[in-house]
Amino acid sequence: MDKVIVADNLSLSYSKNETIINKVNFSVNSGTFVFITGASGSGKSTLLKSLYGALKPDSGSLIVAGVELNGVTKSKLNLLRRHTGIVFQDYKLVKEWNIEKNIMLPLIIGGYDSAVTKNQVDSLLKHVRLKHQSGKYPQELSGGEQQRVAMARALSHNPVLILADEPTGNLDDYSAGLIWNLLEGANEQLKSTVIVVTHHIPETMNVAYKHFHIEYGSINEVV
């Protein structure tokens, strides 16, 4: 099975004095569903940021979808991001765009045909139960609804890799259930690799998953 992520002696930090991830080694096979857990401040989100190139490795090697992120060029990074779906903890929706256009964003960037884009967005809006609110702006939605929009955006371009940072944090059970269903669906049907950073793994998961735990700067698989 192909490896989508390979980390070799990877170290990450925001400043020279404080290493957050220290010389870790791990790999993730294509099509795997992965949970990364750890205490607050353990470096879960930092590791996730490094996977989409928002944080450069201090040392070691990090290969994501065949792209070495240590010293990656801007154009290669953009190409990688075009095949990645990211769900941010703070949603990162464009305030001046309605939710339909927000979901379209990866499709616009990918240069998809407008008919394909329209169909895909309509289908996703139905999946996240927001079809009736398609013309609304992010600030007119609740936190749970905004997170569902962010999830729909991350899935809109059928990415090979989905990265989700606390996708259900502060969500009600209904919204959280929808999010897990979508992530499981993407993993099962699209064979996307899903990496979820979370405090709690849901009790009922319908797909097989791997579990990594981060503690004191190192990462270990929980079997």
Partner: protein
């Protein structure tokens, strides 16, 4: 409404710059037209002991476009009583020659001074009358007027640039977030900044069209035309091709420069 306000602030800033530039252009044209008018009525007079060769004289003095000999008859008529016609003929021969010089353009005091010195180097020329007192006053008035308008245009430009810099900060704050989000999904720089440049171009076009309408109205205004007619000059207030082109170029350059600063100042979100 909020978006309209954001547009309006840049449009007003651009329009005020266009207004000051066009005002400067109109004043410059008016001064040139007035100088043209003045040069038609202005001439120098030289007194020479010898007859001046017109061709040589014009070749040696590029500022002079025509030289006409003045007839001494008027002066002689005053002395006419009691002088025989034979003596008048002799007097005519012994009188110096008077010439009126027409100049190519309305000269500056320095040009007049240089020309006077050059002419007086010729031993046969004994007097150059430049009517410098009235000439200097008029010329200095024109210069003062032009300086005042230049200072006015520069002040408006400076204030507007300050307004645009403030606008730049607002735009930077507003567009940075969207550009960062687009970047996180792999949008290349041109796509991230496309919205910004589109806004800049649209605002520049609106400002230019508003400037076009404003100055077209002014150019047909009876009051303005009467003011120019009263000083006897005919000025082109707004050239619908050249001036529109200048306005479009200025507003497009400024607004795209503003957008470029935002793109260059954009920091990637970590």
């Amino acid at each position: 409404m909020k978006s309209f306000k954001n547009h309006l602030s840049l449009i007003v800033a651009l329009l005020s710059i266009l207004f000051s530039i066009q005002t400067f252009i109109i004043v410059d044209r008016a001064i040139d037209a007035y100088k043209e008018k003045l040069v038609g009525n202005y001439s120098l007079v030289i007194v020479s002991q010898k007859r001046v060769d017109k061709k040589d004289f014009l070749q040696n003095n590029s500022l002079v476009i025509n030289i006409d000999e003045l007839s001494p008859d008027i002066v002689i008529k005053r002395l006419n009583s009691g002088i025989s016609s034979k003596n008048i003929k002799l007097l005519k021969l012994s009188l110096p020659k008077f010439y009126k010089l027409k100049l190519e353009h309305y000269p500056s005091p320095l040009e007049i001074n240089n020309l006077t010195h050059k002419l007086l180097r010729d031993k046969s020329i004994i007097k150059v009358e430049t009517f410098s007192k009235s000439h200097d006053t008029t010329y200095k008035l024109l210069l003062l007027f032009k300086t005042v308008i230049t200072v006015f245009a520069l002040s408006v430009g400076l204030v507007t640039i300050l307004l645009i810099s403030k606008e730049l900060k607002i735009w930077q704050f507003k567009h940075n977030e969207r550009m960062s989000i687009m970047g996180l999904f792999g949008a290349p720089t041109w796509l991230r900044s496309a919205v910004l440049f589109r806004l800049a171009v649209v605002d520049a076009l609106i400002a230019t069209v508003m400037g076009f309408v404003l100055f077209t109205y002014i150019s047909y205004s009876e009051w303005i035309n009467e003011e120019f007619s009263s000083i006897g000059i005919d000025v082109l207030i707004y050239d619908k091709v050249t001036d529109f082109g200048v306005m479009l170029l200025v507003s497009l350059s400024l607004s795209t420069l503003l957008a470029s600063f935002i793109v260059l100042g954009h920091k990637e979100e970590v």
